[in-house]
């Protein structure tokens, strides 16, 4: 899986979770940049990502990821 492929699928996950078709992700995007991305939606997002990529994200990564770039790194690492 390439980084671009991850981004394509992740864009769809974000759009679905936040009900916002205008979202286009990049490495620097954080919770501050997406209006509804609070601690509650963060977990919904994690569950949706797990569903999309069919693996479980360890709790340590769930609480420590700081931006979309880190999320993509984690997905690439777990998807190896």
């Amino acid at each position: 899986m390439t980084r671009e492929e991850v981004y394509e699928r992740l864009n769809n996950v974000f759009r679905d979770v936040f009900d916002d078709e205008s979202i286009t992700l990049n490495d620097e995007i954080t919770a501050d940049d997406i209006e509804d991305w609070d601690s509650f939606e963060h977990i919904n997002l994690v569950v949706a990502v797990q569903d999309e990529f069919s693996f479980k994200i360890p709790m340590g990564k769930v609480v420590s990821m700081k931006n979309v770039g880190e999320m993509v790194d984690i997905i690439l690492e777990l998807g190896k």
Binding site: S39, F40, I43, N44, V46, V47, Q50, P58, M59, G60, V62, V63, S64
Partner: protein, 502 residues
């Protein structure tokens, strides 16, 4: 050893001098000072306290390392035993007395339970949470287990935070504990100023508002709804200045050693919603429960499956909300239990806030959003202030139950506030406090300074930053004014900090 006692200042001075004159053993100086402070403040015998400290240290230190050395079910077993051991210690030492009394009264037993009469052990609730957080971080492989036992011991028993928190994270503390700190003017100046601000809040503001609260809530049946409402507002000020004042002293003390602890408050009464209030009040406790309780519950297989089931049968929104509300119930139940084993504290710190949050969430914060629909929506400052006032009044429902001696008294007080409103007996209440005109003036002045300080904090600045821009003369004048006010008008030695009991 109280934070407002002379012996604390002597202890602090000696520790700071040793810390900076013996830089090679700074960690051990802080550890020794922490042990001395904790043993001296211990309500139980030193021998028993040493056993308790050793037990908690060995359990945390050993449990974390063993988690790394084991795999599969053995690792799960080690994690479970370590965490259950820490939780059980907290539970037994915090609640044994209440439970013993409760059982004795329920079974009408005529037995002597004085051996169960544990005096609350200072800081137990705070450092146990920090220790559990460390064990879970290692379990989740966020960083390796610490091999140096002195570092772990200092993390758990670091004396400024052992009093009332903040609840700290090992990773953030480790770097600061291990760094060799050189004597810097900035650290000392910031630390002392922050401490002074804390003493001002506690001794000058909090203690005075406490007098009004005590007068009314001692015999609430003698007062009308308006008086109870006034006393509850005063309690909001009392509790905030007491707890945040304590945090200022704690953070200031720690800054003297170059160790910056996390902030526990961010102008909470400037919050526009109740959700925002709880994100700005006792921040480190909220973050701890979010990361170590709420997230794991929400992401558990059961909750994920429940969420999917609800999504399929009742739609996307319900599928999201049901697991969220269940994890909220778990979180607030634990926060309620953490605050104590008495019913009125449980109502105040769990049932009321959880209900307020759920109602607010179910309603989609319609009141806050209404500002956008109103014709004068451009006047956002007005609507922001209306929302701030609304949040304060809603949070005051919690304080009514904290101040009342039981749930039934709390309910009666709440009923009186809404249904039994008559004229306010302000002069009679103030006369009963025996405060005098000077005391009243200090209260008004104090609340003015407090609102201004929080206004700055809400805007992302602080009194400290503002003063730094002023001339040396101005800064010194403010500093001396503060000292004079504390020494002249501070009610020294009147009462302990409220959050010590937790």
């Amino acid at each position: 050893m109280s934070l407002t006692s002379g012996s604390f200042f002597i202890f602090l001075l000696v520790t700071v001098i040793l810390y900076y004159t013996l830089p090679k053993i700074q960690k051990y100086i802080l550890l020794s000072a922490s042990c001395v402070f904790y043993l001296k403040a211990s309500p139980i015998g030193i021998d028993l306290m040493l056993v308790l400290m050793t037990y908690i240290l060995m359990l945390t230190y050993g449990g974390a390392i063993l988690q790394e050395k084991t795999f599969g079910w053995k690792r799960n077993m080690v994690s479970a035993i370590t965490i259950m051991g820490l939780v059980a210690t907290l539970f037994v030492l915090k609640y044994a007395f209440n439970m013993g009394e409760l059982l004795a009264s329920l079974l009408s037993m005529d037995v002597q339970l004085s051996w169960l009469n544990f005096v609350p052990i200072m800081g137990l609730s705070y450092f146990t949470l920090s220790a559990i957080g460390y064990v879970l971080d290692v379990r989740w492989q966020m960083y390796p287990a610490e091999r140096n036992i002195a570092t772990v011991a200092l993390f758990i028993f670091y004396f400024p935070q052992v009093v009332s928190g903040p609840v700290t994270r090992f990773e953030a503390m480790r770097q600061q504990i291990l760094a060799k700190t050189v004597l810097e003017y900035d650290n000392i100046e910031y630390g002392l100023r922050r401490m002074l601000w804390g003493y001002f809040k506690k001794l000058v503001i909090s203690e005075r508002f406490a007098m009004i609260v005590t007068v009314v809530y001692k015999n609430p049946q003698d007062y009308g709804g308006a008086d109870i409402f006034l006393a509850t507002l005063c309690y909001a000020v009392q509790l905030y200045t007491d707890f945040s004042g304590c945090m200022d002293i704690v953070l200031g003390t720690s800054a003297l050693f170059g160790v910056r602890l996390p902030e526990n408050f961010r102008a909470p009464f400037f919050s526009k919603t109740v959700q925002e209030f709880w994100q700005r009040w006792h921040i480190t406790l909220g973050l701890w429960f979010k990361d170590y309780v709420m997230y794991p519950v929400q992401i558990s297989n059961v909750m994920v499956m429940l969420g999917k089931y609800c999504k399929q049968h009742y739609g996307k929104k319900v599928g999201k909300k049901i697991p969220f509300y269940i994890s909220m119930l778990v979180l607030w139940f634990l926060i309620g239990v953490w605050h104590g084993c008495t019913a009125h504290y449980f109502v105040a710190s769990a049932i009321v806030p959880c209900t307020l949050l759920m109602i607010s969430d179910l309603g989609g914060n319609w009141f806050s959003k209404m500002g956008n629909e109103l014709p004068f929506s451009e006047c956002s400052l007005f609507w922001d202030n209306v929302n701030r006032l609304k949040s304060l009044l809603l949070i005051c429902i919690c304080w009514v139950f904290v101040c009342s001696e039981s749930v039934s008294v709390g309910l009666t007080c709440l009923y009186d506030v809404f249904a039994n409103v008559d004229e306010i007996h302000l002069s009679a209440i103030i006369a009963a406090t025996k405060m005098g005109k000077a005391g009243l003036l200090v209260m008004v002045l104090g609340i003015g300074v407090l609102v201004f300080a929080d206004y700055l904090e809400d805007k992302g600045s602080s009194l400290y930053e503002l003063l730094n821009k002023k001339s040396w003369f101005m800064r010194t004048a403010v500093l001396y004014a503060e000292i004079i006010l504390i020494l002249g008008m501070g009610m020294i030695g009147k009462s302990e900090f409220i959050y010590f009991q937790f």
